[in-house]
Amino acid sequence: MSPAPSTATRTATTTADPADAATARPVELHGVARTFATPAGPRPVLAGVDLSVAAGEIVAVVGPSGCGKSTLLRQVAGLDAPDGGRILLGGEPVAPYDARTAVAFQEPRLLPWRTLAHNVALGVPRGTPRAESREQVARLLDLVGLAGSAGLRPRQVSGGMAQRASLARALARRPGVLLLDEPFGALDALTRLRMQDLLLEVHASRPTTVLLVTHDVEEALYLADRVVLLGSLTAGAADTSVRSVVTVPGDRPRDRADARLAELRAELLDGLGVPTHHPAHDPDAHHSI
């Protein structure tokens, strides 16, 4: 889905119970700031972050390592509170540990004494009938390719498998806002492509707003409606803000080899400070900088 038109958003929210966590929510950040107190003094990480995400939209967040991407997701999930600005989900302020969101953390954070199935079950909203919950867990494990490992403990599986279980746990919550912190980082290249398609399938079958942190520019361009580049606005500044927002052309599923994406990729990598070498026979790309 391309950036949801406001009419579509309105229909979506009126047809579903607004109190239901499963309704896709728009996310708004207004001047969000976060400064950490450290022994060396205050450390500003985020300052003046403005961002508006439509209900059902997929927005990828890219930025250099340590620039505050995880910190930003934590503010939206209500795991941490900004010390400036406001964050609204569906027009209402984020609550602590907001139940309308689900996070797949950068580390899998599975409970080591539970099987993968029981870990995924933690994500199923409380009050779900037991049989239904079991069925959902089985379906999600199957979806992320872990059906055969349901009874294993986290330490018996690879890092990539644990990360997929963590993704399944987040999906089990049927959140209005799905927050994914480098969810495919620990996966091998092939599994990563499969999981990207899986995420798109899940999103197409039951739209939810997705905020996806990634360090993989190609992944961002393949999955997202828009890509947000985080970074400091002025050279040498300690704090991070939104440097640019790129709207990705084309409907999903996209062709990974699309020439327009290659251009955007070069632009984003440039923004990340990675020099790109354009082929000599492509003068257009050369001039696009």
Binding site: A102, R109, P112
Partner: protein
């Protein structure tokens, strides 16, 4: 002398686990000689019966040495009676119905005192470990009480509760309380903050969070604390029975010492060793199954 401080508890706990899980098997001197089957933890020492048999070697050697020393007349019988006469003393006490009674009453005191102390340790430790307010309020006082040597309680407890069962159970419960309390507090404070946050993010709070994340994460160290508490219970039992009682193994020790019955003293010590080892082995089994489930 008796109350082990918390850091020791933790270290002891982790080393126990490491050896249990790996079976503490040393590969042969030349691991390559074991061929393809060679794995860490393989070899004859990895097998239970072999290890059990090896554990009996030293006691058997001691027994033989004891027999030889007493038979050769190197030591006077009133200082060290022969194994046979200790056995005779045991049979004699058993026929009078005293042996069974002493063993039963001592075991009962240890089990009850341990259960009371461990339950309190778990409860108070959970509160102190989870609530900063409770920690600030209770920790200094409990730390000071823990510093009191066990024997110092005896006269006071007798004065308050007379020489009945209560005074002994209380003393043993005090002995069992602190290892559990300190390990629970330390374990709950060191639960991986990432896991707790994940639990909260998925809607767990209060008792649910405690049951689903915090307590399970603390299980391995708590079990180690329980094991230590049981050992302390036997220690405190003897302290209680030595000073104020009319039955039990501690009483047998004291009474026999007064009457010069070295055979019965040795019998009491051997029985304490056997009972202590047995209860420790039982709790070790429980530990193993708990760790399989929770670690």
């Amino acid at each position: 002398m008796t109350d082990a401080p918390a850091p020791v508890v933790t270290v002891a706990g982790s080393s126990v686990r490491a050896t249990d899980a790996r079976g503490r098997a040393l590969p042969g001197l030349n691991p390559f000689s074991l061929g393809l089957a060679a794995r860490p933890g393989a070899g004859p020492l990895a097998r239970r019966p072999v290890r059990l048999a090896l554990g009996l070697v030293v006691p058997a050697v001691l027994l033989v040495a004891w027999q030889l020393v007493t038979a050769s007349g190197l030591v006077a019988p009133y200082q060290l009676p022969s194994p046979a006469s200790v056995w005779t003393a045991a049979v004699d006490l058993a026929q009078r119905g005293l042996l069974g009674q002493y063993v039963a009453i001592s075991t009962q005191r240890v089990v009850l005192g341990f259960l009371i102390g461990a339950a309190l340790g778990l409860a108070v430790g959970s509160v102190v470990g989870l609530s900063r307010l409770a920690g600030a309020l209770l920790e200094p006082t409990l730390g000071a009480i823990r510093a009191v040597p066990s024997l110092a309680w005896v006269p006071l407890l007798i004065l308050w509760m007379k020489i009945g069962e209560e005074s002994k159970l209380t003393l043993i419960a005090i002995g069992a309380f602190f290892p559990v309390y300190t390990t629970v507090v330390a374990a709950l404070r060191h639960v991986d903050a990432h896991l707790v946050e994940a639990g909260r993010a998925y809607g767990l709070r209060g008792a649910r969070l405690l049951g689903a994340v915090q307590l399970p994460a603390a299980v391995p160290s708590v079990v180690a604390g329980l094991r230590l508490a049981l050992a302390q219970s036997w220690l405190f039992l003897v302290a209680a029975e030595l000073i104020a009682s009319s039955m039990g193994l501690g009483f047998l020790l004291m009474d026999s010492g007064n009457n010069g019955r070295v055979d019965r003293m040795i019998l009491a010590i051997v029985l304490l060793a056997l009972l202590g080892k047995t209860t420790d082995a039982l709790i070790g089994l429980a530990e193993k199954s708990l760790l399989r489930r929770w670690a």
